[in-house]
């Protein structure tokens, strides 16, 4: 028994060490975000320096943090809702209609999954400029409305649901759209929730495309705004970390409540990041 107790102790020691390493940088961010402005971010100040929330207030009063937060929320919500509805529609067709092109479309979805999105940097930029969508909300949302991973995820789920209910409803004379949105969609709720969370996180954290496809200060999302903060004058770590905390806190809240769905989404949708 002594041997097994030692082993458990060692295991906990390992687990705690890793936990400290994994969580430390985030704690560091929170600590710096509540430090007095102008204080050197040294070790002594971290332990004994006071706590103030004035950095957060500054961000909302002097910088345009409220606007950035608003942009991030609006864009993420629109993109997430669109993905839930549109991916479901496509997945339904792929899963239920026995069409010849169905297979072809599915292969297309798989192929898109394997194409690195970053090769779109130049052509999307040119496209947005030529169509006048550059530096508008359209540029932040339109390219991401239907996510092939989402189609894939929902299709797999739909195929595990027998079509009995739909057929019964069809015999009762329900229209196709009623069947689709009133009967099948509620059945897909677990998979749609997983999809929604994943899309929300991805979009919330998106940086490169929002950065290159907009230029106005008023269109910045949180990650873009943070990158701009840093790009300016000498780095003011207290405010920068407070801004980072604003971007992280919503994610932490969602994570705390929906951990199970998030984890199952990772393992189900792991096909592509």
């Amino acid at each position: 028994m002594v041997a097994s107790r030692i082993r458990t102790t060692l295991r906990y020691f390992g687990l705690f060490s890793i936990l400290i390493v994994m969580v430390f940088p985030l704690l560091w961010m929170f600590r710096v975000s509540v430090m007095h402005s102008g204080a050197a971010v040294g070790f002594r100040d971290l332990l004994f320096g006071g706590v103030t929330f004035v950095n957060f207030l500054d961000l909302f009063h002097q910088a345009n943090m409220g606007r950035y937060l608003f942009n991030s929320i609006v864009v993420a919500i629109v993109v997430t809702d669109a993905n839930v509805v549109f991916c479901f529609m496509v997945a339904y067709v792929l899963a239920r209609y026995r069409m010849l092109i169905g297979k072809l479309l599915f292969v297309t979805v798989i192929v898109i999954l394997m194409i690195p999105a970053h090769i779109l940097i130049v052509p999307l930029y040119v496209l947005m400029i030529k169509t006048g969508m550059y530096d508008t909300y359209w540029a932040l949302m339109l390219p991401w409305l239907v996510n092939p991973i989402g189609i894939f995820l929902i299709k797999q789920y739909l195929e595990s649901i027998p079509p009995d209910m739909e057929e019964a409803a069809r015999i009762d004379g329900a229209s196709e759209l009623t069947i689709l949105f009133r009967i099948v969609m509620p059945l897909c709720k677990p998979a749609l929730a997983v999809l929604a969370i994943q899309v929300f996180f991805t979009n919330w954290n998106l940086f490169l495309f929002p950065y290159i496809l907009t230029s106005s200060e008023s269109l910045r999302t949180l990650p873009v705004a943070l990158a701009h903060f840093q790009g300016h004058q000498a780095i003011d770590w207290q405010h920068l970390m407070a801004g980072s905390a604003v971007a992280v806190i919503p994610v932490l809240i969602v994570f705390a409540f929906l951990q199970r769905q998030i984890v199952s989404g990772i393992t189900a949708g792991a096909i592509k990041q």
Partner: protein, 290 residues
């Protein structure tokens, strides 16, 4: 047209439109642009220049260095991440009190915004910063201006951060793989007196092989596209520019050489395509892990 196919078409429409407008058309356009001198700044009309862009790429010092850095990044961070993720999964995969806490804590960095992570580590890596202090404590002299301001440490510092960030995500995938191993196998092994080490090497690791392979390939595909951390932390200086950074830099910041950047993008595409094909060949006969 039959009514049902009309409905199907209607349902597909939003996807088809966004797919064609924001994926297919831009991709084809940039494939063509790669063979022209298309640029925002040039006054003259765009001309067809054949393979010239590609020829230029392979003698362009900046591009070659970006390719080199990208490969160092991928081949350095992917194996380390995989091994660490596996070890962490094995540690967590026991019925222990507090297991959920560890799993959540390990996973936390990978759902945090990359920009935020990069900013935090810029602070940690700076001159006289926390990491420098730790390094000094173990007798290592940190670079004079901070870890991100030295050719010899910048890229590796970013790699370490990336490993730290993504390891929890891959741990979760390993955990799913561990869960799918039937418990009877371990029972049978125990009855026959196999030690836990023996069980690890004869049951766990061989059965995790497809999962590990899967992780290596998706992580490689993702790592080939490294950009944000480099943009935030070094702006491509100190020998850290990656291929995507090169595309970004040449394409949409100063030179606006759309044709040239498109060609570079297709080189990246080709590399990733080769990896994806390898993935398919290696995983084809195996049950998918989801």
């Amino acid at each position: 047209m039959k009514r049902s196919s009309l409905i199907a078409l209607l349902l597909l429409l939003p996807w088809l439109i966004t797919f064609i407008v924001f994926w297919l058309f831009p991709l084809l356009m940039s494939l063509i642009a790669g063979f022209t001198d298309y640029s925002l700044l040039s006054r003259s009309s765009t001309e067809w220049i054949g393979w010239n862009n590609y020829r230029e790429l392979f003698v362009d010092e900046d591009f070659l260095s970006a390719v080199k850095n990208t490969f160092i990044f991928v081949f350095g961070s992917v194996p380390v991440t995989t091994v660490l993720a596996l070890l962490m999964a094995l540690l967590v995969n026991r019925r222990l009190p507090g297991r959920g806490l560890f799993r959540a804590g390990f996973f936390l960095p990978s759902i945090t915004s990359m920009v935020v992570i990069a900013l935090i580590f810029t602070n940690l890596y700076q001159r006289g910063g926390y990491v420098a202090m730790l390094a000094a404590m173990v007798g290592f002299t940190p670079p004079e201006h901070g870890f991100l301001y030295s050719n010899s440490t910048a890229l590796y510092s970013i790699m370490a951060m990336d490993i730290w960030m993504s390891v929890g995500y891959y741990m979760l995938i390993f955990l799913a793989g561990l869960k799918s191993i039937p418990a009877e196998l371990y029972e049978a092994a125990r009855i026959q007196g196999a030690s836990s080490m023996r069980q690890l090497f004869s049951i766990t690791l061989p059965l995790l092989r497809p999962v590990a392979l899967f992780i290596v390939v998706i992580n490689s595909i993702k790592s080939f596209q490294i950009f944000v951390e480099i943009f935030v932390m070094t702006k491509g200086k100190f020998d850290t520019a990656s291929m995507v950074y090169f595309i970004y830099d040449v394409g949409v910041t100063t030179a606006f050489r759309f044709g040239y950047a498109s060609a570079a993008a297709y080189v990246l595409f080709l590399i990733v395509a080769i990896f994806s094909t390898v993935q398919f060949l290696l995983l084809r006969k195996r049950r998918p892990i989801w």
